[in-house]
Subunit: 332 residues, 2 copies
């Protein structure tokens, strides 16, 4: 098994990527790790099972995604997605420019037949610790009902195989729980999902219930999903900043805060999506994983764990089997 | 000045409504309060400046909004909206069924000419304590670009007159800050807002920056706004539940938590949108305010404060002046 990493993806690259590979190589010595980058000197000598793949370009966070992917043909991101397509790597992990990774995946790894639009599918941490797979969070801002239906089918497979959820409960993000709520998009998606007997569709789910484990897989258009993801980040950040302020108010609150620190830390970690690895781009012809931009070594290590399961459990063949148009059918 | 209250709106009605009126009557004895309800005995004898308006019906939280408003013509909600239309009340406050209040407002208070769709506009608490007016959060799930443009103009007037914001910064909710991001809706709304020189339009705002005071007025379609509102509620609730768990873990954490309690309470209050009153339904021919379903006496008192400013500062005439089609124009 060969897992490729983008040396130039993420705020702490390449150091965090290299250190993440070090942790992974120790845990899973049977895997070959491929580090794709511009400068071979970033690869320490003491790392076993790691191959350096040299490229001449890199895509920057501020690059316009589609343009960058078209122009920078020898960038780590484009080459990584191509390697997956050609079978030179079994998975590719990047913490770089999200839009560019989606474009590179679409152009260079390719789309599964029967999937109209790939979806970015991170895990939202939930109170139970179980987590909820949410798709799409921005690969496709202007979704159609059949896209949401396809997300549900792909999400279900990924949740079963990689997350180990049995018969995952599929929810549709909406502004009320009753049938008939929302927009034309959610109404039509609801009726498509309801008809599909292979899915355990539980109906509409409201945003306030997500962190309380209302469902295992939540489908939504990329615009709403992105709002949801960033709002969750923002609210948590705002609350922790204000808490910190209250804790620093006096000597006694500082002492009290010190006593509570381990618990608070445990709690913060449980809310940290980096613990769950990255977000797969579902609907591509191979495993491509978007690691968070702020990923540290541990986050890249977790993404490697995720990639292993993604490959081992045959998620891609299963999605192809499930979604590709059957003989005589044409759902393209 | 006459402010009407729905005796049958909210989880703690009618007691919280009556007690809210008691607080308001003490603070503003110059106002006449009208309590609209089915049972006159809920009105205590010791309350001055309060008139009881008798109705025979009430709309329930689980009622289908449009149907309920059509059928229950003598409900507190329908009568309250009619009183505003007829000038028998200067404002109406209800903590009841949100959808029904929007329908009652539209049918019985009426829409301002030049406003295609009224918007529900609550204040989101922000870190600075200032707050951000967000519209729409669900009155109109399927918005068009000109609706968002009209929200910006109405929101600006309300924010200036009621919230006291000088030249409020208008933001457009989007999935990236750069121009050209998002959906057809946000792209077209962006170009309408950018052209309007009377507005201080600051461009796209991402969900993660809202609580950090990225703008003073945030416009969005009702679907996204509703997701934003409910997600903010859900994330805050989940975090506080987990914190409580950590605080109850042992004797020492319990003691530490007791020391931090006043600060935590202050913090929770600052995040409580009930402190800001209710959400106005902007675009109607009179002040109609939706109080939160869980409103207590203090929340109804704050809604009365808000209604006073709404009336006193002439928000409705100003919106009519600003948005109504000028002679020779027709923007209906």
């Amino acid at each position: 098994m060969r897992i490729a990493f983008d040396a130039h993806g993420g705020d702490h690259a390449p150091v965090a990527v290299v250190e993440g590979i070090r942790l992974a190589a120790k845990e899973w010595p049977d895997v070959t790790y491929i580090l794709i980058g511009r400068d071979p000197s970033i690869l320490p000598n003491d790392l076993a099972n790691v191959i350096f793949k040299h490229v001449t370009e890199q895509i920057e966070p501020e690059d316009e995604p589609v343009k960058a992917v078209r122009r920078k043909k020898d960038s780590s991101m484009v080459v990584g997605c191509q390697m997956v397509r050609k079978g030179e790597a079994d998975a590719f992990i990047s913490g770089g420019n999200t839009g560019a990774l989606m474009a590179a995946g679409l152009f260079h790894t390719g789309r599964i037949k029967g999937v109209d639009r790939p979806a970015l599918a991170p895990i939202f941490p939930t109170l139970s610790g179980r987590g909820t797979l949410v798709l799409d969070v921005g690969a496709n801002p202007e979704a159609k009902p059949q896209h949401l239906y396809q997300y549900a089918r792909m999400g279900r497979i990924y949740a079963e195989k990689v997350l180990g959820f049995e018969a995952p409960r599929i929810g549709l993000l909406n502004i009320g729980t009753e049938e008939g709520k929302g927009t034309e998009l959610t109404k039509e998606a609801f009726s498509l999902l309801e008809k599909e007997s292979s899915l355990r569709f539980i109906g509409n789910v409201e945003a306030r219930d997500i962190l309380f484990d209302a469902c295992d897989v939540l489908v939504c258009d990329g615009f709403s999903g992105n709002i949801l993801l960033k709002n969750t980040e923002g609210v948590a950040k705002a609350i922790f900043e204000r808490l910190k302020e209250e804790f620093m108010r006096s000597l006694s609150t500082k002492i009290a805060a010190a006593i509570l620190k381990p618990g608070l830390k445990r709690f913060k970690n449980s809310m940290d999506y980096k613990e769950h690895g990255g977000a797969p781009l579902l609907g591509l012809m191979g495993p491509v994983i978007k690691a968070h931009g702020s990923s540290d070594a541990r986050a890249f290590f977790n993404a490697a764990r995720q990639a292993r399961l993604f490959i081992d459990r045959g998620v891609i063949p299963r999605i192809i089997e499930d979604l590709s148009p059957k003989k005589g059918e044409d759902n393209e």
